[in-house]
């Protein structure tokens, strides 16, 4: 796939129009999606989009614009709009200029898979149909309420007044599945998903099998009385809480603007000494992997927490310059025109105490809850560290054994207590979702607000 835009020419145009410096990015993305609704393939979509964005500085005044465009004329219009904003906005006295250190990290990191890129629409629809068949053959009483399979191929390019262009092609796929089962005992639903750079058919089938088993448990799930005990958060739920609560707290921007509970705590032991949290942009075939960030700065692997001690925050060029240091290569953007915000590549939680098998962890719990599905965890509060989530499927553990499935109870506590003195260990395999990776985590003395 080709990007029919000459970023060097567009950069020169921005400078000619009055920009003292500029930063441009563009991408072309081909994607297709197939969707199932109630056991039937119902919708399909295929599109190609070209995105373009620019940030310009006129002295210390910054403007940005972006959007989906058809070609060069659209890009020129966006540039003119960004310059108009920059000319009329107010000066940012701390403006350090755009990142001057442009380049790729000297590491080979696969973020493109030919297998994914060459998967045709016909093959894509067969994969989704195969999962539907798997569900129906396993248990005809289960309905596939919804399912989707998406494949995308993308080429992105970056340039600023100090270097580039840098280009990178990437692929991704995602699979989501929502199952529903109704029996005389009641109803249950369960949602699961799988995503990555390199197509993993086996992983997709495992996801389907897991969903089949869990939706049958969800039928039998019911609320329980509240208690204080051990909480086991499964890999996906643990990754989700880290993304909501730890990711904003380690952003240098939130630290500098005094919105992070970790401000002023560098070098302090914040978490259990069993915990390391690493920002790793070099994991092969993970969606958060990259050799340069969205400011064109080379990425790097670093310990954010080392044996529980807060070792660094994540910096983009702006926040780094405020502290007179170099960016950590974490200037990632939510859209082409958006300002970068210090964000992790792949954030990985590891524990020095780890049990290979999750069953062994469950076997050690006197009374607790093993949580595999929640809603509302994104309502947890990153400023205070307060965890909130409602369990849509969990398992009550008594005397080291799973007693019964549970739903409709709330878990609440504070992440900095849960990952400090209350933290026990990690267990089972590691799973990466939306750029955060974790095994299941085991926490003692946690409050379950019950029926």
């Amino acid at each position: 796939m080709r990007l029919d835009l000459d970023l060097e020419k567009l950069l020169k145009y921005a400078e000619k129009m009055g920009a003292s410096e500029a930063e441009l990015s563009a991408s072309v993305t081909d994607k297709y999606v197939f969707e199932i609704s109630k056991d039937s393939l119902e919708r399909a979509l295929s599109t190609t989009t070209i995105g373009f964005g620019i940030r310009v500085a006129v002295g210390k005044k910054i403007g940005a614009a972006g959007g989906e465009i058809t070609g060069e004329e659209g890009a020129l219009e966006i540039i003119r709009h960004a310059i108009k904003i920059a000319k009329s906005t107010r000066e940012d006295e701390k403006w350090p200029g755009f990142n001057p250190k442009i380049g790729k990290a000297p590491v080979e990191v696969p973020v493109y898979s030919e297998e994914t890129a060459s998967l045709t629409e016909e093959e894509g629809v067969k994969i989704l149909q195969g999962q539907l068949k798997l569900v129906k053959e396993s248990d005809p009483s289960i309905t596939v309420a919804g399912a989707g399979f998406r494949v995308s191929r993308s080429y992105s390019e970056f340039i600023n007044s100090y270097g580039g262009p840098l280009g990178e092609k990437s692929t991704s796929y995602s699979y989501v599945l929502e199952l529903k089962k109704k029996t005389g005992e009641g109803e249950g639903t369960y949602i699961d998903w799988k995503m990555g750079v390199k197509l993993d058919i086996e992983g997709i089938e495992e996801t389907t099998q897991r969903a089949i088993s869990r939706v049958s448990d969800a039928v039998k799930a019911s609320p329980i009385e509240g208690f204080k005990g051990t909480l086991i958060l499964d890999d996906a739920e643990a990754a989700s809480l880290l993304r909501i609560l730890i990711v904003p707290a380690i952003s240098a921007d939130n630290v500098q603007q005094r919105r992070s509970p970790l401000a002023g705590r560098l070098g302090e032991k914040v978490l259990s000494e069993k915990i390391n949290i690493i920002d790793d942009p070099f994991l092969p075939y993970e969606t958060g992997s990259a050799v340069f960030d969205d400011e064109g700065h080379p990425t790097s692997k670093k310990n954010v927490f080392e044996k529980g001690v807060l070792a660094t925050y994540l910096y983009d060029h702006y926040t780094a310059s405020i502290e007179g240091r170099e960016s950590t290569g974490n200037g990632f953007k939510s859209a082409h025109h958006a300002p970068p915000s210090p964000s992790p590549s792949n954030l990985v939680l590891e524990s020095t105490v780890h049990k290979e098998k999750l069953e062994d962890a469950i076997g050690e719990v006197e009374k607790g809850l093993y949580v595999v599905s929640t809603i509302g965890s994104w309502l947890s509060n990153p400023v205070s560290g307060q965890i909130n989530a409602t369990v849509t499927l969990g398992y009550l553990i008594v005397g080291g054994e799973i007693q019964r499935p549970v739903k409709g109870v709330a878990i609440s506590g504070n992440i900095y207590e849960a990952l400090a003195d209350s933290f026990q260990y990690t267990a089972g395999p590691r799973r990466c979702l939306f750029g955060v990776c974790s095994s299941s985590i085991v926490v003692s003395d946690f409050t379950i607000a019950g029926h």
């Binding site: 056991d39 399909a44 295929s46 960004a82 107010r90």
Partner: protein, 472 residues
Amino acid sequence: MSDIVTELESYVEKAFRKAEEFGVDFIDARIQDYRYESIVYDNDRVKSYSYTTTTGVGFRVVYKGFHGYSSTTIPTWEGIEKALLTAYRMAKALHHAGGEPSPLAEYPAVKAYSRSGYIKYPFEISDDEKIEVVKTLVSTAKEVEGVVSATARLGLQHDKRVVLNNEGTRVETDVVLTGFSVSAVARSDKGMEIVYDSKSKVSGWELVEYTDLNAMAKEIGGLAVKAAHATVPKAGKYRVVLHPEVVGLLVHEALGHASEGDLVASDASVIKDKLGQKIGSDLVSIVDDGRHPDGYYVPFDDEGVEKKKTTIVEKGILKGYLAGRAESNKLGIEPTGNSRVMSYQHPLLVRQTNYYILPGDHTFDELIQEAKNGIYVTGKGARGGEVDPGAGTFTFGVGVSWKIENGEITTPLRGVTLTGMILDVLKNIEALGKDLHVYTSVFGGCGKSGQLVRVGDGGPYVLVGEIIVGGR
């Protein structure tokens, strides 16, 4: 309309005729010209000032009951033809793969043009005046003792859409939305807390001019300080009085999603097969209304179906669902004008418009007195909610709340979340306030299957006899 929209539209009729030659059942097109401006002021600087634009056309081809989508931004016949052929190919691929077709219910052709009102077009306000708004919000909030950080945002949106189909429909809508927000972080020996408030309206710059920005920022700064000193309630069951903002969240999340016809038809709703049954207290009546003046303006949906006020619950009885043309055919009900897309690129989904509980007869003081002991739950700082419409469970994070002791509001509480089962809460509603409040937002909306659309929600103050509060 902009030149590019006119250009795109000039090819649509030709595309429809070509599609008919292929033997499609139906084809429609959504043309969009969208612009959005955002200014973020963070403590002492303009953190970002950005502008985004999206223009394009999306086609849906229905072939033997199967729906294929594609889109283009290229205003030439080649661009349009490629998108059309792709949508046709995708629909055919589904047909060949097998499955149940999803034909559309009949709906008459509509010709309409509908524009939301404004006095001052916000995109023509000077940059300096716009920046002054966010700067004022931040500096006033920061003047409150104990506030350590403040951020403000301004958002302006102009969304023009044209829906056309090969049955003769042409519906053009044009909506201008203006809004701003302020958030303040305060610190105490008990920790930090953030409180957020926003105000948005389908209107022009007059919204800003009619608002006392200083009072709004001062209130949020003060609330943040109170929240930072507040305690977290003990988790458990409480009697609660809900602020209309929280009621809006509750009905949108707890019942709104479950009443979306695509979820009902795909067996993913807890209120499937419950039409005509009692699902709530006699006091509860709920509607979805595309034209409430304080909500988002949806006079027609993205299929060109007129959005009327749809009654979902009347005196506790479930009366209807929300449906587009495909779902209405499956469910045997009339289309309600709720088939919406985030942008021209996206497939249609059943979405709410402005979902709210109709008011009752109590004053606010009477509700607090009747609660006796419990919690008054407010929305300032609320972070939204989430629901499992199939299981019937919901959870949402609310703002700074207050203890109710012996019929009076006493001390502030923080970290409050509400959780429970949809139908239990509707049954536990004991009394409703007199006044109706509906809210929308230029900064967010409702997310579903990766698509964000603007919505509104609200209601009166509501007394709920029992709800699970997550806390300590």
